[in-house]
């Protein structure tokens, strides 16, 4: 674990921004002002940030319906995201996509996805582009334990393996797909699945930013050096419902509170960096305040934003008409 102060602060700021963003959306959704489906990433921040810290704009990621964290970690502007979630014209997708479809191709963010298992094949394609054009880039598919059972995901593992693609499969295992536990839905194990396709897999503690960061470094270096695909099986937890409005009665009483109190990735990060005397709590508190302010500003901006115009309904279907 060799990270300088600037990197550590950046990691913390990004995780904190995601947490603020999601906690705030949880409150704002309850007011009824936000349309559609919103799936929050709170609790899982260490995964997105630990992986994306190793990436630049030439590297591509594909995300999921639970995409806000991946977007922020990949550098998508918070204001553009918030405005998108409110259906505003100045949102990153012009208000046409919403929470489930936030994308910023200029940042190498190929989109959140409303179709579970939609991302892994796309990432094989992005990795193929990188390999063919020798861009030096890699491509990362984030997908859930539920998505790990989708044919598209399993086929992608095989394709990436036989074509030796610079792809990284990050299975974010939060234990549930909607209300269904992965202990019920996943046959075998993620690691053995990877092994079956000839892909190395690392088991990763997703509550520990540094564990994710190190595992991702290994996998990404391997991909960049022509070593082919890897899988990270990241165990973590989501703090809110599957989507906003889910009563989560399928979870054990106190399950989330216990995880929040004992394993929270942000709290753990703070502990780790202060134990190692890398950052002091005063500077982390400043980051907390700044992240909260940035999110507050974005909400105000989004609420004040204008919706798309009538003409926007008909544009953007094709490049040329």
């Amino acid at each position: 674990m060799q990270m300088n102060r600037a990197d550590l602060l950046h990691a913390y700021r990004t995780m904190r921004t995601i947490r603020e963003f999601e906690e705030r959306l949880h409150l704002e959704f309850a007011t009824g002002e936000i349309p559609g489906f919103v799936h929050l990433y709170a609790g899982e921040e260490a995964s997105a940030v630990g992986v994306c810290m190793h990436l630049t704009d030439r590297d591509k990621i594909a995300s999921t319906h639970r995409g806000h964290g991946h977007c922020i970690a990949k550098g998508v502007e918070v204001q553009g995201m918030m405005s998108e979630i409110y259906g505003r014209k100045d949102g990153v997708c012009g208000g046409k996509g919403g929470s489930m479809h936030i994308a910023d191709l200029s940042k190498g963010m190929l989109g959140a996805n409303g179709i579970v298992g939609g991302g892994p094949p796309l990432i094989c394609g992005a990795a193929l582009t990188a390999k063919t054009l020798k861009t030096g880039g890699v491509a990362v598919a984030f997908y859930g334990d539920g998505a790990s059972n989708q044919g598209t995901t399993l086929e992608s593992l095989n394709l990436a393996s036989i074509w030796k693609l610079p792809a990284i499969f990050v299975c974010e295992d939060n234990g549930y797909a909607e209300s269904t536990a992965s202990s019920y839905s996943v046959g075998g194990s993620q690691a053995k699945r990877a092994e079956g396709f000839g892909i190395p897999c690392q088991e990763v503690d997703g509550f520990d930013f540094f564990a994710v960061h190190e595992a991702a470094r290994v996998a990404i270096e391997r991909a960049r050096n022509g070593g082919g695909p890897s899988m990270l099986h990241v165990r973590l937890a989501r703090y809110f419902g599957h989507f906003e409005g889910d009563a989560t009665t399928y979870r054990a009483p106190g399950e989330v509170e216990r995880i929040r109190n004992e394993q929270d990735c942000l709290r753990r990060f703070r502990q780790q960096v202060s134990d190692a005397a890398l950052l002091d709590s005063g500077e982390l508190d400043v980051v907390d305040r700044e992240a909260a302010e940035a999110v507050e500003l974005s909400v105000r901006g989004a609420k004040a934003g204008a919706p798309p115009t009538e003409a926007d309904l008909l544009t953007d279907v094709y490049v040329a008409y």
Partner: protein, 341 residues
């Protein structure tokens, strides 16, 4: 008879058919919910609660929560149907058909014909369709024209709670693969629904109202919107027939043609994307079979040919509404032959 929601009507149809026939099973993602989880079982009853309570009565052997693997479980439902069960598989949002279409259109739909009439595939696939839920491009499509295009599939679009119960029971008893599409914004709509089981036959359109001037053919949720427009038009002295075909495959072409013969004017209201949809299909039928009866060109009220947008103001512009139906009816009423030149 009592007031029941579209959701309850569907739940009741499933329950009554499961009681009647032990070969009826359900499968789908989170149709019970809580599988393997430490908390409540039957935690969801489907994303919008349609199958709530069924696992309690029938157990997990007959109400199967599946992994997130549509190709596998929709295909398994087809295979089970061909071998003695009567599965009702839930696809959740019809948009997800993208990942499992082969099992539906190359497998289930083809068995009977390819095997020389020797197969029977009593499969029902339930799915939600339609815009208006702010669910954006991948959770709001109609897609029923895709299924209608495939010989071997039957396609059902219940327009209300009463229709939903009778048509679902018919679907389950039917020996062919049936795609049963539920409009997601209608689940809370209530009307009188009989307590006992009843069926509504396929291929028999429902005349929801009869009028002299214009025939409106509308599909699924659009039936309600067409009737709303017809109410307003009646106050302006224009009387409409509003026809609900109920099933788009088979399609009750006879009733459509009879109505057009009587009114001489046709407006079709279809929420599906406008190219190769039910509106174009019915237009072609009428142009071919009842051209001489037409006093005005046919009008189609459809969304524009774009994906469903997320922003609420754009989505509201996208979905056909009563204003647009009213305008179309007035246009066909006001039509003068010389305008054709």
């Amino acid at each position: 008879m009592s007031k029941k929601s579209y959701r309850t009507a569907i739940n009741e149809a499933l329950r009554q058919e499961m009681r009647r026939d032990p070969a009826v099973i359900l499968m789908g993602e989170d149709i019970a919910g809580g599988a393997g989880a430490p908390g409540e079982q039957d935690a969801w009853g489907g994303v919008l609660g349609v199958t709530k309570g069924l696992v309690g009565e029938f157990g997990r052997e007959r109400v199967l929560d599946t992994p997130l693997s549509e190709s596998a479980y929709i295909g398994a439902a087809a295979g089970a149907a061909a071998t003695g069960l009567r599965p009702v598989a839930e696809l959740m949002f019809v948009d997800f058909v993208g990942v499992c279409f082969d099992q539906i259109f190359n497998q289930a739909a083809k068995f009977r014909y390819m095997f020389g009439g020797n197969a029977r595939t009593p499969l029902v696939i339930r799915a939600m369709y339609g815009a208006g839920f702010r669910a954006a491009s991948q959770h709001s499509q109609c897609l029923y024209p895709l299924f209608t295009h495939i010989p071997g599939l039957k396609v059902v679009l219940p327009s209300s709670a009463y229709e939903a119960k009778g048509l679902l029971i018919q679907s389950i008893r039917d020996d062919d693969p049936v795609i049963f599409l539920e409009n997601k914004v209608q689940y809370d709509e209530e009307e009188d629904v009989p307590d006992e089981a009843y069926t509504i036959p396929f291929g028999e359109a429902n005349l929801t109202r009869e009028g002299r001037d214009v025939t409106i053919v509308a599909f699924g949720r659009m039936v309600k919107i067409a009737n709303e427009a017809a109410d307003r038009l009646l106050k302006q002295g224009i009387s409409c027939t509003v026809l609900d075909p109920r099933t788009v495959s088979p399609l009750d072409t006879g009733t459509i043609l009879d109505c057009v013969q009587e009114t001489g004017r046709l407006v079709i209201v279809d929420e599906a994307s406008p190219r190769c949809n039910m509106a174009t299909d019915v237009s072609a039928l009428v142009a071919q079979e009842a051209f001489g009866a037409l006093k005005a060109p046919i009008r189609m009220v459809c969304p524009p040919h774009v994906p469903v947008p997320f922003a609420p103001n754009l989505e509201d512009l996208y979905v056909p509404n009563a204003d647009r139906v009213e305008a179309a009816v007035r246009a066909v009423m006001g039509f003068k032959a010389r305008e054709l030149a």
